[in-house]
Symmetry: C2
Subunit: 429 residues, 2 copies
C-alpha cells in the first residue's frame, strides 16, 4: 500500500525539529520520501495536505485501554473509596467480551484523536492485543501482575500465564509484549524479581506504577525500608527496560538513580490532578538529567479521555503554575514528550516518534482551518495550547490509513459505540 501526501506543512520532529512545506511518500510500512519538491508517483491514496499539518502520531505511554467502559463512573471521590466501591467491584466482573468492547472504544478514541502507539497495562491483555492487531494500532501490551490475582487469573497462574503471553506476542509486527507488575505495594519482591527474569529472558519492556501518591511512598517505606524507586533498584528493576508511570513523589536522589540506570518516566498530569495526588512529577529536573520522558493519559476512568492534546496542555500549564515560571516546559518540549520522547521511553525512537525517511509511517494530520487554530503565528504553540483531539482528520499507522479525512477504515464507529454502551451498562448493573 502506498500513500502520497501533497502540499502540506510537515512537522518532522527530527533531530533539528525541522518544519517544512512539501510532500511525503509512504510505501509499505515506511516513509520513503520527504520532499519540498513535487513527488511524481502513483499512490493508492493521495491526500491533499493544504491547510493541514502533518506530524508524528502521538504516543501514549501509560493507559488502561478498556477502562473507557468506566469513563465518568465515579468522579469526585476519594481514591480508596473510588477503588473499593466503584473500580474494583466492576473490574472483578470483567471478561474478554467486555474488555473487547472497551478496547475497541479506546482504540477508536485514540485513532480519532491522533494517538498511534500506546503502552497499556491491564487484564485480558491478549484480548487487547487481538483487537489492536485487527484494527492496526501500534501497542505495547502490558500484562498486569498483582499478587492477589487478577479478574482473569489466580495468583498461582499469573507467572506462567505471563511468560506464555510474552512468548505469544514476541516478534509481532505492530505489537510487543510488556510485563507490568502493578505496583511496589501490590507486588511482592518475589513477583518483581520474576518479572525481571522474564523481561530479561525475552528482552521486553517492564512497566509499573511508581510513587503516584504520597501514601504509596509512605506505605512502601514503612514496609520495606525503602521508597518505591529504591525498592525497585534493590531488586534490579530500575533498569533500561523499565517505564515508571507517574513519579509524582520522587526525590532528587531518586532522579539520579533513575538517570544512572537508564530508566524511563511516563508523566500523567491529568490523572494526577484529577485524583488529587498532590504530587508534581519533577519533569524539569528529569529533563535536565536527560531521562526520557513520555506522556500518558492514564485510564479513561481517571482522566476522563484518551486525548493526548488535552494531556499536552495540562502538562505545559501545571508546571508553569506550580513553579511560578511561564517559561518552564515550553510548547516544543511538550510536543517532544508526546512524540519522540514517548518513542524513547519505549525504546523505539529509531522506528517511530518523528517523520523521517526510513522510519515507520506513523503520522497524523491536523485540519488547520478552524477558528481556534487561526491565525497561525506558531504551529507548535497551537498543538499544545489550542488544538484538541477532534482537530485530527487523518491517522496513519505503519503505513496504513486508519482514519482518512474523518472516515474510519478499519472499524465500525456506530457498532463500537453501541456495544460499549451496552457492555458498560451490564458491568455496573
Amino acid at each position: 500500500m502506498s500513500i502520497l501526501i501533497k502540499n502540506s506543512t510537515i512537522l518532522t520532529q527530527n533531530e533539528r525539529r525541522q518544519q517544512l512545506h512539501g510532500n511525503i511518500y509512504i510505501d509499505g510500512q515506511e516513509v520513503v520520501q520527504i520532499s519540498k519538491n513535487p513527488i511524481s508517483i502513483e499512490a493508492d491514496y493521495k491526500i491533499d495536505g493544504r491547510k493541514k499539518l502533518v506530524l508524528p502520531g502521538l504516543i501514549n505511554t501509560h493507559t488502561h485501554i478498556p477502562m473507557t467502559l468506566l469513563r465518568g463512573y465515579g468522579d469526585d471521590m476519594v481514591l480508596q473509596k473510588w477503588l473499593e466501591e466503584r473500580i474494583w467491584p466492576v473490574e472483578a466482573k470483567l471478561n474478554s467480551e467486555s474488555v473487547e468492547a472497551g478496547t475497541k472504544l479506546g482504540l477508536l478514541e485514540m485513532i480519532a484523536s491522533g494517538t498511534t502507539a500506546f503502552l497499556d497495562m491491564y487484564f485480558f491483555e491478549d484480548t487487547i492485543g487481538e483487537v489492536a492487531e485487527k484494527i492496526g494500532v501500534r501497542g505495547f501490551l502490558g500484562f498486569a501482575l498483582i499478587d492477589s490475582g487478577t479478574p482473569q487469573y489466580s495468583a498461582d497462574d499469573l507467572m506462567p500465564q505471563c511468560e506464555q503471553f510474552v512468548r505469544r506476542w514476541k516478534n509481532k509486527d505492530l505489537l510487543q509484549p510488556a510485563i507490568a507488575p502493578h505496583g511496589v505495594y501490590t507486588c511482592s519482591p518475589e513477583t518483581l524479581k520474576k518479572s525481571l527474569e522474564i523481561a530479561d529472558k525475552y528482552d521486553v519492556i517492564l512497566h509499573i506504577h511508581c510513587s503516584e501518591t504520597r501514601k504509596e511512598v509512605y506505605d512502601v517505606q514503612k514496609r520495606y525500608g525503602e521508597r518505591p524507586v529504591g525498592h525497585l533498584k534493590k531488586y534490579g528493576l530500575l533498569c533500561k527496560k523499565m517505564v515508571l508511570a507517574h513519579c509524582g513523589w520522587i526525590t532528587k536522589n531518586e532522579i539520579l538513580d533513575i538517570k544512572k540506570r537508564g530508566t524511563k518516566v511516563s508523566h500523567n498530569p491529568v490523572s494526577n490532578m484529577k485524583i488529587a495526588t498532590g504530587g508534581y512529577a519533577p519533569i524539569p529536573e528529569l529533563l535536565e538529567a536527560n531521562v526520557p520522558v513520555g506522556l500518558g493519559t492514564d485510564g479513561a476512568a481517571s482522566n476522563n479521555t484518551l486525548d493526548m492534546f488535552d494531556t499536552m496542555k495540562f502538562c505545559a500549564l501545571v508546571h508553569k503554575q506550580h513553579r511560578w515560571d511561564p517559561i518552564i516546559l515550553p510548547a516544543q518540549t511538550v510536543v517532544d514528550f508526546a512524540t519522540i520522547g514517548g518513542a524513547k521511553c519505549l525504546g523505539v525512537e529509531k522506528e517511530i516518534g518523528s517523520i523521517e525517511e526510513g522510519k515507520k509511517a506513523d503520522l497524523i494530520m491536523i485540519d488547520l482551518k478552524k477558528p481556534h487554530l487561526t491565525p497561525q503565528h506558531d504551529l507548535i504553540s497551537h498543538l499544545v495550547y489550542a488544538s484538541r483531539g477532534s482537530d485530527v482528520c487523518t491517522t496513519i499507522v505503519n503505513g496504513k490509513p486508519l482514519m482518512l479525512e474523518g472516515e474510519f477504515l478499519t472499524l465500525n464507529y456506530d457498532d463500537i459505540l453501541e456495544n460499549a454502551e451496552k457492555c458498560a451498562k451490564e458491568l455496573i448493573s
Copy 2:
C-alpha cells in the same frame, strides 16, 4: 421565529438541577414550553434531539475578544517581557478594522464551542458591539479604561467617550454596556471614582482585573497602603455592580468584604496557569461565602482558546490537585459556574443561565455520539471531564439559531478565518 427541539436529554440547570428527557418549544426570544410529552406544534426549525444533550449556553465572564488575533503570538514568556515586547506594541497598532476581524473570529469560536454570552473588556468596544449585534451573540461590552490612554482614545478623551459609549449601548436587546477600568495599578483613584459615578448613573456593570498576580498586590499595597480589594472598597467600587476578574491572590478577609458588598468573581484558571501567576483563586471559600462565581477564558493570547469546556476541566482539576482533595469542586459545581453562576455574576440570572419556561432561549446542544462521550454513565461528568468545544453541534441565542448541526447561520466561516489571518499578519509585521 420558532424552534422545536424533539426527544432530547435536557439539562435544565434550574433550581433543582433537573435532568429530563423531552421536548423544548422556543418562540421569539423565549423558551415557551418544556415537556416530557410530545409538543404538537409547527415551528420554523425542527431539531432532532436524539443522542443529543441540551444545556444552557455557556457564559464567559472574562475575555478580550479581539485578542484572538494574537493567539500563539508569544507563549512561554515572562509576563512583563510578553506585554512589553509582544502584546503592547501590537495593540498600539489596532484599529477598528483589525478589531472587527478579531471579534468575528472570536465570536465564531465562541458560537462553535457553545458560548452564548460574554463579558468583554477591550478597546474599540463599539466595533465589538456592532459585530456581536450583527452576528447575534449576547454580550456585556466592557469599555476599557487605562490612565495612559488606549489605542483608540487619548487619556483626556477616555471618560467622555466612556459615558457616550454607555449611552449608545444602554437599552439594547442583546448587548449591554459595561465600564471596565483595567486595574487598580493602571487606573488612578480618580478614574475609579469616575467609573463608579457613570456606572451608578446608568446602572451598568463594572469590570476590573483584580489581584491577578502577587506583584500587582505588592505594588498596589506599596503605593496605596491597601491591597487591591481594600483599595476598591475604599472608593466604593467593591459593590454589587462589580465583577472582579482573577482574584488569585485574595485573603479570607477580602472574601468577607467581597461577600458583604455583593461583589462577583470571574475565575480564569487556564490563563492564571499559563501566565504562571502562582495564585489559586480561593473558589471553595468564595462558594462557602455564597459569592457568585463565573468562569472566564481570558483573552486567547493567554489561554489560547475561548473554549469554556477546556476552562471547566482546568477549573475542576487545578483545585483538586492544589488542595489534595478529589472531592472539591465536583462536576456539577463547575457546570454551575459556567451557566447559572455566570448569569448571577452578570446580574441576569432571571433571564439566562438555565433552561426554564419564560427565560431567554440561550441554549446549546452537544452531540453525544462520540467515542470520548461513551458510555454515558454521567452526563454532568462528561461535560466537565470529557467534552470539548467541538462536541457542540447547535447554538441558539435569544431564540435564534446561530449554529445548527454544525452549520453557521449568521456568519461566513471561510471569510472570517481568511480575514483574521490577514489582519493578524499585518498587525505583527
